[in-house]
Structure formats: C-alpha cells, structure tokens
Symmetry: C3
Subunit: 340 residues, 3 copies
C-alpha cells in the first residue's frame, strides 16, 4: 500500500507544506525511519530529523520546513499514531464472534457484540457487557460482571465474583482476584484466613501483563476509575487505589493500604500494609513507604523521605568515608578518646 | 437468603447478646457494612463499630454491648469467615468431574474425586492424588506427582518431574519447574548449563499468583512444608526453603540459597545466591541479603543490617547534610585544611 | 536402567580411574547423592566428596583418586549433565506433531518439523520456523515470525507482529509484545498513546518464566542476540538491549533505555527510562540506575554509584550514629552552638 503525503494529511486533517504528491512507503519513528518513510518530529529532535533519511514528517507548527514535505498538525503524536494505525495496524477481532472451542457456561450472559477467542472460559452466572473482547484462553470465573468494551488479552484470569468497569483493558497473564495473603500463626503453623471478598476495577483502568490484584478478605479490593497499572505490579488484599493513579512496573502495595487520586508511583516502589498515600503524591523509583505520605508531596528512597531532603542526603552520602576520616583527625587534634 | 442473628450464632456456635430474631441481609467488614448487615468487630475498632450502620456484629468477649445484637465467640475472625462463606461463598467444583475438553494423557493416573477443568493438560505418567482440583487451563507436565487435595488454579504451569505435597495450593499463572538461570561464559557467549533437576513442594504450601519456582540443575529445588509464598515471588534453582516460611510479594531468592524454618521475609526482599538465612529470621521489606543471616535475628536494609543498628542509621542519615556543614565549620575553626 | 562406570565414561569420552565395572544406579549432585550413585566433583568440594556416599564421580584432572572410581574429563559439568540427561532426561516432544486441539490459522505457515501442543493458538499470517516447539496453550498472534528451533513453553503469549530469532527459548507464562505503558495527561485523565510497534528478539535469547517485554510505541523493542533474561523481568517499550546481556530475576528496565553488549544486571535492578548502560557494565543486585553508566564499569546501590565508592560508603554508614554523637561532643568541646 503506497499513499501520498497529501492522502496522509487528509487522514489526520493536517496541513501539507511542500510536495504533497510524494509517495510514502511506511511510517517509522525517527530512529528507525528509512528513505521513503514518513516520520514524527518535534522541536526537541531537530538535529535527528536533519540526519534522518525519511522522506517526510508529521510535525508541530514550531518545526521549520527544511526542504522535505511536512504535515503540520496541532497534535503530531496522535496524528502519527493514526497514520501508523492506518498503514499497518491490524483490524480488531470481528465483533460478536464466539469461537466454537470457547467454554461459555449456559447461565453466562454475553451482551451484543461480545467476542470470545479460542479456549476462553466464562463461568456460571457471569455477565459480559456489549462489545467486550475476551482473547484466546482468558478465564473468567463465576458471578463476575464485565462492563462494555472490556478487553481481556490472552490468558488473563479473573477469579469468581470480580467486577470490571467499562473499557477496562487487562493484558496477558494478569490475574484478578486471587486469594489475599492472609494467615494467622497458630500451633506452629500459618493457618489460612479465608479470602471471601472480591475485586472491583472501575471504568477506564488498564492493567499490565502479569500483574496481580488480590481479592479482599471479606469485602472489595478496589482500583479507582482511570488508574493505569503497568506490568508485574502486585496489589494486595483490601487495598483501595484512588482514581487516575499511575503505578509503574513492579510496584507492590501491601494489604489494606489506600491511595488518593492522581498518585504516581515510579517503578519498583513498595508500600507497606495499612498505609495511606495522599492525593497527587509522586513517589520516585524504588521508594519504600512505611509511613503515611501527606497529599501533594514528592517522596524518594527507603524509608521514603521528602524528595528535597533525600536528594541532599544522597549527595552527602558519597562523602561519608572522607567525613569519617575528618572526624578521626579532629578527635585526634582535640585529644578526644576513640570510643571502643 | 435472609437469616436471623440466632441462626448465624448457631452456625458458628456463638452466644447471642440482644435481639436474636433480628433478620440479617449480608455480612460485610466494618468499612463496607450497610444497614441490615452483620459485621466483624474487635476491641481495636470500637469507634468504627460505634459509627458503623451495621445491624449486628460478631465480636470477642471483650467488646461491650452497645444496644445492637452481638454474637460472642472466642475466635471472631474465623466465625465471621464461616458466616460469609455460608451467606455468599461459592460451592467448590464438583468432585470427580473431568471436563471433556481436558487433555489427560492415557498413562496419567487420577485418584478418586479428582476434578479437571476445561483445557487443562496432564502429562504422561503423572499421578494426581485424591480430591485434587486442576482448574481451567492448568498444565502439568510428564512424570509429576501431585498429592491429595492439591489445588491448581487456572493456567498454573508445572513442568515435568515436579512433586507437590498434599493440600498444596497454587494460584493462577504461577510456574513451577521452569529452567534455572544457569549459564557459563565461553567463547564470547553464555552457554546454557542444562537444568535437569526438579521442584519438590512439600505439604500445605501455598504459592501466590504469578510466582515462579525454578527446577534444580541436577537435583531438587525444595519448598518446606507449611511455607506460604505470596504473588510474583521468584525462587531460583537449587534453593532450599525451610518449613513454615512466609515470603511476601515480589521477594526474590537467588540460586542455591537456603532458609531455616519459620523465616519471614517482607515484600520485595532479595537474597543473593549461596546465602543462608537462619531459623526464625525476620527480614523487613526490601531487605537485600548479601551475607549469611544468623538465626533468630531481624535484619533491614540493603545491604542487610541488624534491625536496631539499621533503624539508628536511618534516623541519623537525615542529618547527613547538617553533619557535613558542621564538619566544615569545625575544620575551619581548627584551621584544618580542606582535602582536595 | 543400570549401567557401569565404563559405559558412562564412554558416553562422555572420559578416562576411567579405578573399577570401571562398578554398576551405577543414578546420578545426583554432591549434596543429594546416595550409595550407588555417580556424582560431580571439583577441587573446591573435595571435603564434601570425601564425606559423600556416592560410589563414583565425574571429576576434572585436578581431583585426586581416593579409592572410588573417577571419570576424568576436561569439562566435568557438561559431562555430568550428559550423563544425567541420558539416565533420566525426558525425550523432546516428537517433531512435527500438531495436536488436533491446537488452533492454527489457515494462513499460518508451519515449517517442517514444527510441533504444536494442545490448546495452542497460532494467528493469521504467522510463520513458524523448522523444528520449533509450541507447548500446550502457547498463544502466538497475527503476523509473527518465529525462527527455527524456537521453543515456547506452556502458556507463553506473543502478541501480533513480533519476531523471535532462531533458537529463542521462552519459558512459561512470559508475555512478549503487550502494550507499552504510554499515556499523556489531558483533561484530568491519562489518555493512552497507541502502542503500534513490535518486539524483535534476536537469535539465541532465552526469556524466563513470567517475564514481560512490551512492544515499542511505533517501532521495535529489541533484545540483542545471545542475551539471557531470567524470571519476572520487565522490559519496557522501545528499549534496546544489546547482545549477550545477562539480566537476572525481577530486573526492570523502563521505556526507551538502551544497553550495550555483555552487560550484567543482578537481581531486582531497575533502570529509569531513557538511560544508557554501556558495554560490559556490571550492576549489583537491587541497583537503581538514574544516570547513564559508562562502559566497562561496576555500579552498586540506589542511586547507582561506582562499586568501590559505594562499598566504602556502605561500611562507613554503619558508623553514622557514633559519628553524630562525636560531632555533638566536638561541638560542645569547641563551644559551637547547636543549630535549631
């Protein structure tokens, strides 16, 4: 499929500067673009654009013309994404097809346009909203409710009694609703506390590959609307995550902790159990939270400390060996005894 | 289903204080309870109980009557769990049903009452003990032995030659027996050392969703009886975990390390290879172990240090910038040269 | 199956010292060996070999005879592996068998000798190279290319448009090509940036159980030839991993970062987004990289620091409380005011 710069501009309602009749072979990002491609440029990468063999670019108004055709748009990222999608994106699975190998319980209710891939399983009494897509091998337990346009990628597992809001997307091999990690020590053994709650994932949440969200002990573990969760994240039982949080990869949040709205946690953060992380808190990578964190703050390190303090501590830390040597000299100069 | 306080008390052999004829609609924890519910109270949460709209509560003898009916029992947590289970728990899968879509090798031996879900796979020569349940899509390789009442949740994968003791529970998407991470550097490449061992999981172990336990190189990787492992935990090849350990989420234990009995590791701990962590050691969250840890101790931080020392270091650390300023002033006062 | 020491020596082209006619029952490592077994010895474990009940051993020339037969070989590890494999290894799946329950799209192309296990799925237009093995329940999307002798263990998921080079091995429940974690904050919500790229895994890469490698935004996420990735590792979108890297368990590499060749990262390391880790860098366990790391260096800690410096800081750190006490005494002795 070959198209011209002008056709691409029409797709994304952009303005053509330069030769609109130039044919375009493919769309690739700056680092990978080849002759004949269209690419994506912004003002931070003008040097790379200059050196890039691409034939044309999608660009914001701030990028100057340099002899090659440009498609000018207000939102180049989404325009370029639209072009890539049109040039080599794959069609969604056909709506409303249930693979004959899927195992849908006779009491389950699939709304209009639900697609179910091969070897998927839908349990007793579960309801799936209009337009939802359950890819190959997804397993949904008994008594679950999935909203409209939910997407479960291959091999996702949703245990009994969990609810997923509209437009929730769950990536491959994530697990929603496994038992919380609850035991009591009795007679020399760890006796299991039954985990009888469920998970409520609100609308517009996305959950990354391999992440696990445990069910509550008696009530819900809840993920607030609009929250985005990366891969290999662990959310413990009874946790209540607020709305529009961003939890990067490998974050772990222990049982019964809560977060406000618009919280951001960078990769590999950990939050101890029964903590509260306030609205709009930002935690740097690998931060370990063992106290409540006040709203609107930025924390770093383990144990978590305010960002400004922690950065000063980190800088000073490198001087520790010389500080200790200095102390010894001073004590010698002052005739102070060495302890021990 | 509506029942009275007295009926609930009968189920859990509790004593009714107050109106035993009051009908109860549902059972929910304190934070979620609604009018008409029964809830769970202990002495630490009397204020919340006072403010809670629930109609009644399960409580220990120490909780005073406050006008609403109580069910007094010695073990309120397990009594409440019993009530929740009766009110809205789901029945187990029917014993002894093998879904026709499951793929059980003709040489595999399933004992009485084994249930196998849709699309599960049981390999050549594998033996499965009485009452075991293999949920949808679980895959068990060749030559495995699974004890009585083992539960494999959906999509669990057990590689060839592994053994799971009685009552072992493995949550969704966990992987038992993948190859250990063993290579030798030769001629500019990492040459694989064949991983020909297996995994032995002893009785009463529970393994969380998405966790991985690698097979030994030539012999077993072993998980001791009664040990509980949370989600997304990694146990390397040849590791020997003792009995009744508790390993919280995202812990990683590198190859050939060993632990004693009753060890507790909080979330995101890491143990380097060939280390030993002694009996009854407690490691705080995110602890990084790079030396052996003596029995009966508590360690924190990275590198792991005794808890008391590490807490003092953490407190002092925040003062590092001011300590450095003080040092500079002292050196100036004493006329000492600034190094460098 | 019982064989003699001499037969074993013939298998591995080793030299027999002592009684070649001795029958051998099994092959187990030093710690597990029983009477009648052959075991593996090197010079570092002569004491353990002395105390071991095994009947014979595979050993390098440096190990002295001690009355029991030895098989001397230049490479005892691989010779012993060969013996274990012959004595109790399992045959590979028969080449060229496609289980009738597998779901192979009519447009997919399977080369000669490809094996596909039960409930596996191969998508539209995907090509699978000669000798590849797709175990039970593996899911490969549309338009993928898998090289010769690729192994996908059970339940691996490969999203659309990804490529895996010759001899790539992917362990159970790993996910290749899920969406990158890309959002833009607009109007109070996190709006998804479409993830339209793919993953390229070059030849001879091994990927551990439960690991996730996200697709690029518009182009490739790339894993260089010969790189070995352990379990539960997360590789973000657009990342470019060099050749022959070793990434231990639970490492996380955030979006758009790159590594050189022969990089080694120990367990639970994290690399922030848009960083570069140079050729032959070695990162200790739990290292957190938030700056570029120069080639040929060794780094530790968080934030990552050169190994020598960081080790000195770690040692000094334990003295912080006494250093602070000393400072107070010195200030008192000098009549300096306490700040605050």
């Amino acid at each position: 499929m070959t198209v011209t710069v002008r056709q691409l501009a029409d797709w994304v309602r952009g303005e053509v500067l330069g030769d609109g009749d130039l044919p375009i072979a493919d769309a690739r990002p700056l680092a990978d673009a080849r002759p004949g491609d269209i690419t994506l440029v912004d003002d931070r990468h003008l040097g790379a654009w200059h050196a890039c063999p691409a034939a044309a670019a999608v660009a914001p108004p701030s990028v100057p013309v340099n002899g090659r055709p440009l498609i000018r748009v207000a939102d180049p990222l989404m325009a370029f994404a639209g072009i890539v999608q049109r040039l080599r994106g794959r069609p969604p699975l056909p709506a409303g097809t249930v693979d004959p190998s899927a195992h849908v319980h006779p009491t389950a209710k699939l709304a209009a346009g639900v697609s179910v891939g091969p070897f998927a399983v839908v349990g007793e009494g579960t309801e799936v909203g209009a337009g939802a897509v359950l890819h190959a091998g997804a397993v949904v337990g008994r008594g679950c409710r999935l909203g409209a346009d939910v997407t479960l990628h291959p091999r996702v597992v949703v245990y009994d009694d969990c609810t997923l809001g509209d437009r929730v997307v769950v990536h491959a091999n994530a697990v929603i609703g496994a038992d919380g990690f609850g035991y009591r020590f009795q007679d020399g053994r760890h006796a299991k506390v039954p985990q009888l709650g469920w998970v409520e994932v609100e609308a517009d949440v996305e959950i990354g590959a391999g992440s696990t969200i445990d069910r509550g002990t008696f009530g819900p573990t809840r993920i607030g609307a609009g929250t985005k969760i990366d891969n290999l994240v662990m959310i413990g039982h009874n946790v209540q995550i607020g709305r529009h949080n961003v939890l990067a990869a490998q974050v772990g949040i222990a049982g019964s902790s809560t977060t406000g709205d618009y919280v951001v946690m960078a990769g590999q953060c950990g939050v101890a159990d029964h903590m509260h992380v306030g609205d709009r808190v930002v935690l740097g990578a690998k931060t370990g939270v063992i106290t409540d964190i006040p709203p609107g703050t930025r924390y770093l390190g383990y144990p978590a400390r305010p960002e400004g303090l922690k950065k000063r501590v980190w800088v000073t830390q490198d001087h520790l060996p010389e500080m200790r040597r200095d102390l010894k000299k001073i004590k010698a100069a002052l005739g102070m005894e060495e302890a021990g």
